[in-house]
């Protein structure tokens, strides 16, 4: 716990912005991958089973890609470019390449632990819980928002509508679930279970932010969204977009990519 006190303010601030990228990166291949396996299965009638199919597809697809991220705020936009590598399960490494002032900063996520490397400090630091869950100033989404593996444990799902094109799932938190949201509404394509949108509601029934998936492409036989948009529905002009470039899925990722050495120096 003590280590959290020594995270310098500028590192924490930069981390906040970049964690959006991390969240998206971890979420993208998983949400994309759900379209793959579910596609081959018969459409389940039970909402929990649909969710299970979604979650089951959150694991196992390794990737290497470049991600372009834009964080828009009223009057300004910040662009990031970063290299991403993930084993498709609980480990991912993100290294920032642009803009120059942030280049070299890196994030290593292993399960619930999140480490950040600062080239300015020349050292790695373990982030406090806020590193995973804060609705950060520089972003519209947190890591936990897209940590899809927790949906199954934390929410009860029901199908609220279903037609030829889409299935709408409503996820309501279980008692004591560590989420502040009142419910999530997840829209997926009926045919492929590819995600279309994910809307977060507060406990008063108001939508607070929406994640939209688009630009679907078949990659190695899988339907994966290549573009993402997160919109803060309570504050005008707050938007985050992310696009994949040169994504490679199902590749062999070396173990050294998920070490503190890789966090500081990279692994390719």
């Amino acid at each position: 716990m003590t280590h959290t006190r020594f995270v310098p303010r500028h590192i924490a601030r930069d981390a906040r912005t970049l964690l959006v990228a991390l969240a998206l990166i971890v979420g993208l291949p998983t949400t994309g991958s759900l379209a793959v396996r579910a596609h081959a299965q018969a459409a389940p009638d039970d909402a929990q089973a649909v969710l299970d199919h979604v979650i089951d597809n959150l694991r196992g697809l390794s990737e290497r890609a470049t991600l372009e991220l834009s964080v828009e705020r009223p009057g300004r936009t910040v662009h990031y470019r970063m290299d991403v590598v993930s084993d498709g399960n609980e480990r991912s490494l993100v290294r920032v390449t642009e803009p120059p002032q942030q280049a070299g900063e890196a994030f290593l996520s292993i399960g619930n632990n999140l480490l950040v490397y600062s080239p300015r400090l020349g050292r790695s630091l373990r982030l406090p819980p806020s590193g995973r869950s804060n609705a950060f100033l520089g972003s519209d989404l947190s890591y936990d928002d897209l940590a899809g593996g927790e949906y199954r444990e934390q929410y009860d799902a029901t199908i609220t509508s279903r037609d030829a094109d889409t299935i709408t799932l409503e996820l309501v938190p279980k008692p004591e679930a560590p989420t502040p949201y009142g419910k999530l509404v997840f829209v997926v394509k009926s045919a492929s279970y590819a995600p279309v949108s994910l809307t977060f509601f507060d406990q008063r029934g108001n939508a607070v932010k929406r994640l939209t998936f688009s630009d679907f492409q078949d990659v190695q036989g899988r339907t994966i969204p290549q573009h993402f948009e997160v919109v803060d529905l309570l504050r005008e002009g707050y938007r985050t977009t992310a696009s994949y470039q040169d994504a490679q899925f199902g590749i062999a990722v070396p173990e050294r990519c998920f070490s503190e050495a890789a966090l500081e120096r990279g692994c390719f």
Partner: protein, 421 residues
């Protein structure tokens, strides 16, 4: 020669005694003037004594009141936790410490606490807090916070959270809504969803802007600590330091009992500065009283020029005459000091057992001074040293008497003085 010297000493001693007697007698020759002097000094003495007793009582009341809000009358914790409030430094065990504390005379109740840094999340924002895990059934006996739950109710068990009004406002969380709480335990990050069941509105910003009470069981799940970080003790007001000191000998190495003064150091330091300011105020008060006494004596000397001229003409040297005037000032000041002390201490004692000022101040200034959470019980303090503080008036009066009226008497020309009206 030796006989002559001895005779001279006897003569001087006799003259000195005669001067003392004469000064005393002079007081009562001019009763109105003496009464005026005595009343002035008595009033100053009374004011100084009461001022000190009231200020000390107010400070103590505020300290105790704030102590019960922010900390506890006495807190048993590890010295490591006291220096670095991290749950990595918990109490080694609870039961033996509770037994030791309850066996200590003066300890009325004990309640475990587990404090840990946490992040609270609402759908709109997040807020870092120092969360306090408590036993809901016992916390009210050692803390004033449960009494300030103005919306909803106090915790009843796990799965619930009570927030300070400021925290709830910033999170935009309302009663019945859930907040997520994240903490770093020794085994890694842990999270829970807790329902807001109560809002604390104490009027004290440091409490309302930081309070997050959770059940002890939830705190243990979040922090990974199986015991507690502290054991809060309820002891009678004013006995915090003595009970903590007495309990210390019963505690194992590395565990300390901290009285409220040490737990809220910033406020205690502020109280210390408050006493310094009151000291300055008291000295100024004494100064004005002494100046009043001196000016009365100066007028008296002017009025008694003829009398002093006759006394010098009859053989009393002017040095002794000035001593006489100084003695008269000192006598009047001592009489006033005695009278003021008796009345002052009587008032202090009365208000030390009768809670008049607590309701009065809360009613009059409660909303105006909401930031410092005026104590509901406000008693004056009675301390013997106030006599010394008030005696400064006498010392100053004597000093000024030497400097002004006595000096004037020394320069007196008998022939001119006897001709004056």
């Amino acid at each position: 020669m030796a006989i002559g010297t001895e005779a001279g000493r006897v003569t001087r001693r006799g003259t000195t005694v005669a001067l003392w007697r004469l000064a005393w007698r002079n007081l009562w020759r001019q009763r109105r003037r003496t009464q005026l002097l005595v009343v002035v000094v008595a009033y100053a003495t009374l004011a100084i004594i009461f001022l000190w007793g009231f200020i000390d009582g107010f400070m103590n009341g505020m300290l105790a009141s704030q102590g019960r809000l922010v900390a506890a009358p006495v807190l048993v914790t590890t010295s490591a936790y006291h220096d670095d409030p991290d749950p990595l430094h918990p109490l080694p065990s609870l039961a033996p410490l509770e037994r030791a504390a309850l066996a200590q005379p003066g300890v009325r109740h004990v309640a475990p606490r587990l404090e840990f840094g946490a992040l609270l999340r609402s759908p709109y924002t997040s807020e870092g807090v120092m969360a306090r895990g408590v036993d809901p059934a016992r916390e009210a006996s050692v803390s004033a916070i449960p009494a300030y739950v103005t919306q909803g109710r106090m915790l009843a068990g796990p799965g619930e959270i009570v927030l300070g009004k400021g925290v709830a406002d910033r999170l935009d969380s309302r009663l019945g809504e859930r907040v997520a709480i994240d903490a770093s335990a020794a085994g890694g990050p842990r999270s829970l969803g807790l329902r807001v069941v109560g809002i604390v509105d104490s009027g004290t910003p440091v409490v309302d802007d930081a309070t997050a009470l959770v059940d002890l069981a939830d705190a243990r799940r979040l922090s990974g600590v199986s015991t507690a970080t502290g054991l809060a003790l309820d002891v009678p007001r004013g006995r915090e330091s003595s009970v903590a000191a007495a309990l210390q000998s019963e505690l194992p190495a590395g565990v300390h009992a901290y009285p409220v003064e040490q737990l809220i150091g910033q406020l205690a330091r502020a109280v210390g500065w408050g006493r310094v300011e009151v000291t300055v105020l008291g000295v100024v008060f004494s100064l004005f009283a002494a100046i009043t006494v001196t000016s009365t004596v100066v007028v008296s000397v002017l009025e008694r020029s003829r009398e002093f001229g006759v006394m010098v003409a009859l053989g009393l040297d002017q040095a002794r005459l000035s001593t006489l005037v100084t003695l008269e000032s000192v006598y009047a000041s001592v009489l006033g000091w005695l009278a003021g002390s008796i009345v002052g201490f009587a008032l202090l004692w009365l208000f030390s057992v009768w809670n008049v000022f607590g309701p009065l101040f809360s009613g009059l200034y409660g909303s105006l001074l909401s930031g410092i959470s005026l104590p509901s019980e406000l008693y004056t303090i009675v301390r013997p040293e106030y006599l010394l503080y008030a005696a400064v008036t006498i010392a100053l009066a004597a000093l000024f008497a030497v400097l002004a009226p006595a000096r004037r008497v020394r320069r007196l020309r008998p022939a001119e003085a006897m001709r004056s009206e």
